[in-house]
């Protein structure tokens, strides 16, 4: 496309006082990563692409689902089951072919976050879970990247711009607002709580606005601020945040440390199961007061004859709890994975009324250790 056509495309924003051709050049040179191509990611992408951001990358490991279409406006019914990031680029290319896109059809993890985020000028977080949000925030602080943040729940949304360079320091980050991640179940996610379709449209559009202001250095971004909007009563609220020195202690010290930080666990996405080792297991067998349950299928080997126990396979255990009359229940399986699931199922049934534990690393390891002792 020649310069005349380019001018024509962006004419309405280039003629704005305080924006101009220089700002348009800044947009063209910008390299933005959008995390999550969902309810927030769709409007963010649509407006950044339309505004002429030069390079845009999208990371999302999810596929389009029918229940997404009420709010994820880049997708249509023909795209159901297809990867969101690829579908988004397919649509966005039609809108503005000058933009250079990169697609990551994968999940952002503690392993790839450092490498991926380091490539971009601005990070936009439209993810849908706390594990990703804390991971993205911490990585942005370590890499000194500005982070445009938005989040929604039911009828309410939040917008902020975190970790913006201000003189020799940086503005507040997500952990200055919410220092510690909530555990699973403390806060509802969209799937459980629901969300009005236009809400991520409004909040995502505000995120695109903050991103454009940040890149073009126009106006005042929501640094050291949290903006909230309620769709039911149109009430807005702006909260002042302060960067605090003690917050830095909550963030991994280095990217290497970040790679070893289990964000899924911190956010309680993986439930912690009480596990016992071989010695504790043998003590419980010797005491003879506990219900010991093999949750493997009937024909699995090794067959255990060393101590008395019940066999109730994992998929039947919830139906056979009447057999578990003892105060302590010990479950085991081959490797410790199914027994951990059994513990979770039993805890939802018995609560804290019984002590329910799993044999760590499974019965094969236990058997090997017995042989070594002999």
């Amino acid at each position: 496309m020649n310069n005349d056509r380019l001018y024509e495309r962006y004419q309405r924003q280039v003629i704005l006082k305080g924006l101009g051709a220089e700002a348009q050049q800044k947009l063209l040179k910008a390299n933005v990563l959008v995390i999550g191509a969902g309810g927030l990611g769709c409007p963010v992408l649509q407006y950044l692409v339309a505004a002429g951001v030069g390079r845009i990358s999208i990371i999302d490991d999810d596929v389009v689902d029918l229940s997404n279409l009420h709010r994820q406006v880049l997708y249509n019914a023909q795209m159901i089951g297809k990867p969101k990031a690829s579908c988004a680029v397919e649509v966005l290319q039609q809108l503005n072919a000058q933009v250079k896109f990169t697609v990551y059809n994968e999940r952002l993890t503690n392993q790839n976050a450092g490498d991926i985020l380091s490539l971009y000028d601005v990070i936009v977080d439209g993810s849908d879970n706390f594990a990703t949000r804390y991971l993205v925030n911490d990585a942005c602080v370590l890499l000194n990247k500005s982070l445009v943040y938005g989040a929604v729940s039911e009828y309410e949304g939040q917008v902020a711009v975190f970790h913006v360079q201000q003189g020799s320091g940086y503005s507040a980050n997500y952990r200055d607002l919410f220092p510690h991640p909530p555990k699973e179940g403390e806060v509802l996610n969209c799937a459980e709580a629901g969300v009005l379709g236009v809400l991520p449209g409004i909040i995502g559009t505000m995120m695109a606005n903050e991103t454009i202001k940040l890149i073009t250095e126009t106006g005042t971004v929501l640094a050291n601020k949290l903006f909230t909007y309620n769709t039911l009563n149109n009430q807005t609220y702006e909260l002042e945040l302060t960067a605090r020195a003690e917050t830095r202690l909550l963030i991994p010290a280095t990217l290497e440390e970040l790679m070893q930080t289990d964000y899924e666990w911190l956010c309680g996405s993986i439930k912690v199961v009480a596990e016992i080792d071989t010695d504790e297991f043998n003590t419980i067998i010797a005491d003879g007061n506990a219900a010991i349950v093999d949750v493997r299928e009937k024909d699995e080997t090794p067959v255990i004859t060393e101590f008395s126990h019940m066999q109730i396979s994992l998929n039947r255990i919830a139906e056979h709890t009447a057999r578990l009359t003892e105060d302590t229940i010990v479950v085991f399986c081959q490797s410790g994975k199914r027994s951990a699931q059994a513990v979770q199922q039993l805890i939802t049934i018995f609560g804290t009324a019984k002590k329910i534990v799993s044999l760590k690393n499974g019965i094969v390891k236990w058997k090997n250790e017995q042989t070594q002792i002999v």
């Binding site: 977080d125 706390f130 929604v152 729940s153 509802l188 709580a193 609220y237 909260l239």
Partner: protein, 75 residues
């Protein structure tokens, strides 16, 4: 009169706003709110006084506005 604003799921428990009198600190206010709305105990939120986030007990005056904000993760 001290105004209290509840955000997100907290508004479902306590309504979107309420007013109280004769409360002199955020700790005192929280104790009162927990008694009045026991369901708040299981909720995670941060507190702002007059639009400033606080991280420890803060003195309130007659015209303070206190906001209780839960984290959102939806996208």
């Amino acid at each position: 009169m001290i105004t209290i604003l509840f955000f997100g799921k907290l508004a479902e428990i306590a309504g979107s706003s309420t007013e109280v009198q004769e409360v002199f600190s955020t700790d005192e206010l929280l104790a009162q709110l927990h008694t009045q709305y026991p369901l708040l105990a299981s909720e995670k939120f941060v507190i702002a006084v007059d639009k400033k986030l606080i991280s420890s007990n803060t003195i309130l005056n007659d015209h303070s506005t206190v906001a209780l904000l839960p984290p959102f993760s939806g996208g």
